[in-house]
Symmetry: none
Subunit: 202 residues, 4 copies
Amino acid sequence: MSTRGSDKPLRADAQRNRQALLAKAREVCDAGEFFDLRFDDFARLAGVGTGTLYRHFPTREALAEAVYHEEVAALCDRARRLRDALPAHEALATFLRGMVDHLDAHQGLARTLATLMATSTAALAEGGEALEQAVTALVAAAVRDGTVRGDVSAGAVMMALHGISAAHDRPDWRAEADGVVTLLLDGLVQPQPSTPNVSPER
Amino acid sequence: MSTRGSDKPLRADAQRNRQALLAKAREVCDAGEFFDLRFDDFARLAGVGTGTLYRHFPTREALAEAVYHEEVAALCDRARRLRDALPAHEALATFLRGMVDHLDAHQGLARTLATLMATSTAALAEGGEALEQAVTALVAAAVRDGTVRGDVSAGAVMMALHGISAAHDRPDWRAEADGVVTLLLDGLVQPQPSTPNVSPER
Amino acid sequence: MSTRGSDKPLRADAQRNRQALLAKAREVCDAGEFFDLRFDDFARLAGVGTGTLYRHFPTREALAEAVYHEEVAALCDRARRLRDALPAHEALATFLRGMVDHLDAHQGLARTLATLMATSTAALAEGGEALEQAVTALVAAAVRDGTVRGDVSAGAVMMALHGISAAHDRPDWRAEADGVVTLLLDGLVQPQPSTPNVSPER
Amino acid sequence: MSTRGSDKPLRADAQRNRQALLAKAREVCDAGEFFDLRFDDFARLAGVGTGTLYRHFPTREALAEAVYHEEVAALCDRARRLRDALPAHEALATFLRGMVDHLDAHQGLARTLATLMATSTAALAEGGEALEQAVTALVAAAVRDGTVRGDVSAGAVMMALHGISAAHDRPDWRAEADGVVTLLLDGLVQPQPSTPNVSPER
DNA sequence: AATGAATGAGTATTCATTCAT
DNA sequence: GATGAATGAATACTCATTCAT
């Protein structure tokens, strides 16, 4: 499971440069300064030439995506492990709460990703899809064993996660994020006999 | 609570220019192209000089805020009217579903606001706060009359709305947005005897 | 007969800047350094900002063309005056010889134009056509009064002029240029009874 | 007079690479795209490394010259053969007309050479001189046997050829090129008793 | 000798902002 | 108050050339 799609093995020095760039980019991302930097600066910080930066990551987005990729891969792994280890509903709950922990620990990253999401560079689609598949699998399992209602798509969960990560700079972020997850989980339990649902006449 | 800080009544032509600028900006916003334009271009589009643009709206954010203001005011009004007219829980539900309708009808605006939120230019704070206060009031009322649980802040609702508007370009947006609102509302009802809540040991 | 196509009268300062830019560009052209300069430098030399340079002349070629324009206009004028004042054949001869004098006096300009011709930016077409029309008129007049053969187009004359100006850096340029003109003029006289023309069997 | 300065026989693969580079370069030249390519691209196109390109042709001009060399050699050969086979005046005429044919058949090449001429990279001097010597010899022979006037240098002929090749993109190129050659040849015949030559008083 | 990744100086171009008219 | 020309710092990106592999 390599970081790069193409299989052409990189020359040793190329590999080294690529890693240096990625490492610095991750660092900058975590510090939430990804967009405050000139693109060239990533090269300078990593100690390589501008040309090298451009060779490896032709655009700022390509770089962001590369950083993002590992993140997402880790999250997907985690989802898979939870799914294997816990009852479905519990796995979902644990995953979502863990997600908040993760975003809490990497606020800069969250902010960067949120911005990228807003800009919605299609380049991030792949990663987003992978994550979504993981969530979908978690939700589907819970639906199958009857602990979660079947009339709400995993997409809604994604959207809520989106909101959580996008709003990461609210003063009370942590508490509110937990609140959203709680609401989601409580809302997801098998349909209560009857929610007094209101018809939006508008 | 006027739109402009200073109350000095504008000269007739100044008023006209200001309106022209706002109208164009709103249009552009709705088309979702607010960030694809050079700031100057708003002047050109409105048929006024650059200087005039700057006099009225010293920054891009100031302009966005001005556009945003009316939106927000309308939404707040709506919240107030619903609060006065309906039982608390119903008012909240109607407001949230109406919000989705509104975002659905003004996708471009939604995108623009989402981006602005992500960038979180403090200039939008005022508008955001007004909206939040309206939501808070709706939630508080429902908590008071016992139809909504008291352990979750209105902030969480805001966050979810954030997510909804930020993700507006998902293919299945409408259905998913409705899903999020449903989950929220179902999760918000008075605490079920016991959600089998999982302790995130992480 | 203004320098600019559009009739919108330039603001005084704009006019001043435009003139300053043109003046410097002409100077640089005459020195044969037109292509050795960064485009920005034209701004610096003229004492205006880069933006101003770009406003007036969006490309290097646009600037060159502007310089070229005046040249061509002057040459066309000269052609017209000669046509009015002299017998047709004499007018043509005088024009061509004067052309060589002119190129001799402005070698840098010649070099610049030659390069531009080679690159053949269509922007120069207009100027080229004007000049060609002038030559065509001269030739046509001479054909009409029977001093010049009718089976050779003015285009051939243009081509020869092209060659003269393109080759301007040959060590013996002046003599050779005169030679070409002489050959042209002698070749142009009413068809000798019979040139022992050779069939190119190749 | 070999193609390369050093006579060290090339290693087989070196030879192969050199040929591949030359072949591609010629192709590109003929397509008239010699200057639209990055220098590196010649390497890529030929399927060799950048370093190899540089080893064989240290500059773009060196490469152009190498392509140009064979061209010129062929033309010179042709001139020599014509001189040996035909009466002097006929040889000259045939050569010039053949030249036009050749340029007509290789327009891309013509454009490339014209540009190189304009840029006048001394690297082309050698080839240019060879060609010029051939023309000079043709003219001199014709002068010697009295069919061509002696007061005009071969340089003038070169200059005209220059013009022909430089103007290769005129819509009516072929006809005009023929026209120039006709004028030249007619102008070159032994001086008519008296051309009503006009004194350029200027 | 061949390779192609690395290099980074060089350059064009934009665009937010100012200020003379 | 309005105008829009001028400004020039900021920045992205290329590509000729080198040199480690």
